[in-house]
């Protein structure tokens, strides 16, 4: 075999698979978004019609709003709280890996099971209401997934619960990169543990915080299973996110062109977020 083609031979399966099942669909999605297509008849060119429809559709704006709200609530929580979890499981104690494992468990659980599990916890006469009533936080049971003003936040809580362990591990890597001597000096000077976290740990973790913000914001834009399993977009479309909107229009309404246009909008948003976050990450890493 001529030596020059050897590297390409190694790459053939990957290029063929990713070409056919990622790059080609990407072009396909763009093409479909400029057409009318219901999977039965041949696609018909429709220019910018689908995008025009999108901008006039209150349901699209609602989905976009919900996705952005999701982002605004979930990303700050997932960028900060796991730092404390990481500090907690970074202690050198017997059995600490058991706790790490337990905190990580939701990450490996399929979202269908997670969704059903929380639906059961959220039941109106279920265990969460009982506990909150027990400690006096609420007076009457709340139908978490059925009250329009509450439901989206209830779904967000599940996303947060699921993601905690994943981001904890990233911060754990960050913590292990901080030189121990910093803490020794602080200990000698009598700086309290809490102040050590605020003035040593968090500043040293800045590049990791930026990274977690990137990953969690992209993940927040892709929320689907939680919504599908727990609320199916209801009540009153209050939990319809962008991905749910794409799914509904594509595989329930079979309005493929319209769904693709919404998909492109989703991609554009993810892309902007990634670039924005990448610039941010670079800046903080350079500053270090």
């Amino acid at each position: 075999m001529p030596r020059k083609i050897v590297p390409y031979v190694f790459l053939i399966p990957a290029i063929m698979l990713i070409g056919t099942f990622v790059l080609l669909p990407m072009i396909g999605a763009l093409a479909i978004s400029f057409s009318e297509y219901n999977m039965i008849q041949k696609p018909r060119f429709a220019g910018f019609n689908q995008y025009r429809r999108l901008f006039q559709d209150p349901f699209f704006w609602n989905a976009l709003f919900n996705s952005l709200l999701y982002l605004i609530v979930v990303v700050p929580v997932l960028s900060t709280v796991p730092i404390f979890l990481a500090v907690l499981v970074n202690q050198k104690l017997p059995g600490i890996s058991v706790f790490r494992g337990i905190y990580y468990l939701p990450v490996v659980t399929s979202l269908v099971v997670t969704g059903l599990m929380w639906k059961w916890v959220y039941e109106e006469n279920g265990v969460l209401n009982f506990m909150l009533q027990g400690v006096g936080m609420i007076e009457t049971p709340i139908a978490w997934l059925a009250v329009p003003s509450v439901s989206l936040f209830a779904v967000m809580a599940v996303t947060i619960w699921t993601g905690m362990g994943f981001y904890m591990v990233i911060y754990l890597a960050g913590l292990q990169s901080i030189p121990g001597s910093l803490y020794e000096v602080a200990d000698l000077q009598g700086v309290s543990k809490l102040r050590q976290i605020i003035f040593i740990t968090i500043p040293m973790l800045r590049p990791y915080i930026a990274l977690v913000a990137v990953i969690s914001s992209i993940a927040a834009m892709k929320i689907f299973e939680e919504v599908f399993i727990m609320t199916n977009g209801g009540p009153l479309s209050q939990t319809e996110t962008l991905v749910f909107f794409v799914y509904q229009n594509a595989f329930v309404e079979f309005d493929m062109g319209y769904a693709s246009a919404a998909g492109i909008a989703l991609f554009a948003l993810t892309f902007v977020l990634s670039v924005l976050n990448l610039l941010l990450t670079r800046e903080t890493t350079d500053a270090k």
Binding site: M26, I170, F251
Partner: protein, 282 residues
């Protein structure tokens, strides 16, 4: 002397507080699982909506698990999931490590462009691709088949990235001496490189397994034929058909996660190290 007793007691109290905090947080994560398990083990005679909720079933029973198998073909779903996940794991290990090797260790025209294009596909949301992907699958006659289910998972940019990082860390001398001996590139890849990156292969394997095992959206779209259902679709069907029967749904959900949890327990260290390797480079 007295001083040391005092400090031992203090040390003891500190430990106590540390474990109390760890345990309280652990409850928040494992609590819902235990509540689900408790519900699955309650008999029909016990009120599952009782107030206060009973965490320990009065007469623990496995009958609900039996009922799951009577209601839906869960054994079939289990085998379907196992086949799909195993084949996806093998494909990923093979194709990703093949592609990653030249990207890490050879110089050739278009190397950077190919790497950049492959890696940038990580940014494309699957939900955007699924519409044309579905069209392609239908055109190729791959809907309702395991082949169609597996193929979008068969080679991922994440896997290529992960393997490339691993190959980059292998010392060059090993390869060079093999080269002088007249061993070809494929033999070097198979006999020298792959054994050296075994931990990363294991990481990729467990990540792929857990990901594909829990995958829901793509199977939901591509499978109509219920005999091809994987476990997440089966559990969803169980919840859709017997939604009010929480004992049954809970038992089905528990059954479907047992394999994942088992795999996780034995491979925990690969998850921790893998999340670091994949997400955080150097």
């Amino acid at each position: 002397m007295q001083n040391s007793i005092f400090s031992t007691a203090r040390e003891f109290a500190r430990r106590g507080v540390q474990y109390a905090v760890l345990l309280a947080v652990a409850c928040a994560f494992i609590g819902p699982f235990l509540w689900l398990l408790s519900t699955a083990m309650k008999s029909g005679a016990e009120n599952i909506f009782e107030s206060p909720p009973q965490f320990i079933p009065k007469a623990p029973t496995l009958e609900n698990f039996g009922r799951v198998f009577e209601s839906l073909p869960f054994v079939t779903y289990f085998f379907n999931s196992a086949i799909v996940a195993s084949v996806a794991v093998i494909c990923n290990l093979l194709f990703c490590s093949l592609a990653a090797y030249p990207l890490a260790r050879m110089s050739f025209a278009g190397k950077n462009a190919i790497f950049l294009i492959l890696i940038s596909t990580m940014m494309l949301p699957f939900q955007l691709l699924m519409i044309p992907l579905y069209s392609i699958a239908v055109t190729l006659g791959l809907n309702n088949s395991f082949f169609g289910l597996i193929i979008p998972h068969a080679c991922t940019a994440f896997g290529i990235f992960l393997m490339r990082q691993a190959f980059l860390a292998v010392p060059h001398q090993l390869e060079e001496s093999a080269h002088i001996e007249g061993v070809n590139r494929f033999q070097i890849w198979w006999y020298i490189m792959l054994p050296l990156v075994r931990p990363t292969l294991a990481t990729l394997a467990v990540f792929t397994f857990i990901g594909v095992w829990g995958d829901f959206l793509w199977p939901l779209i591509i499978l109509d034929d219920q005999s091809k259902y994987t476990l997440p679709l089966g559990v969803n069907k169980l919840a859709g058909t017997f939604g009010k029967d929480w004992r049954l749904v809970a038992a089905g959900a528990i059954l479907s996660v047992i394999p994942t949890i088992a795999v996780f327990l034995f491979t925990q260290r690969f998850f921790i190290s893998g999340a670091l390797k994949g997400a955080v480079k150097g």
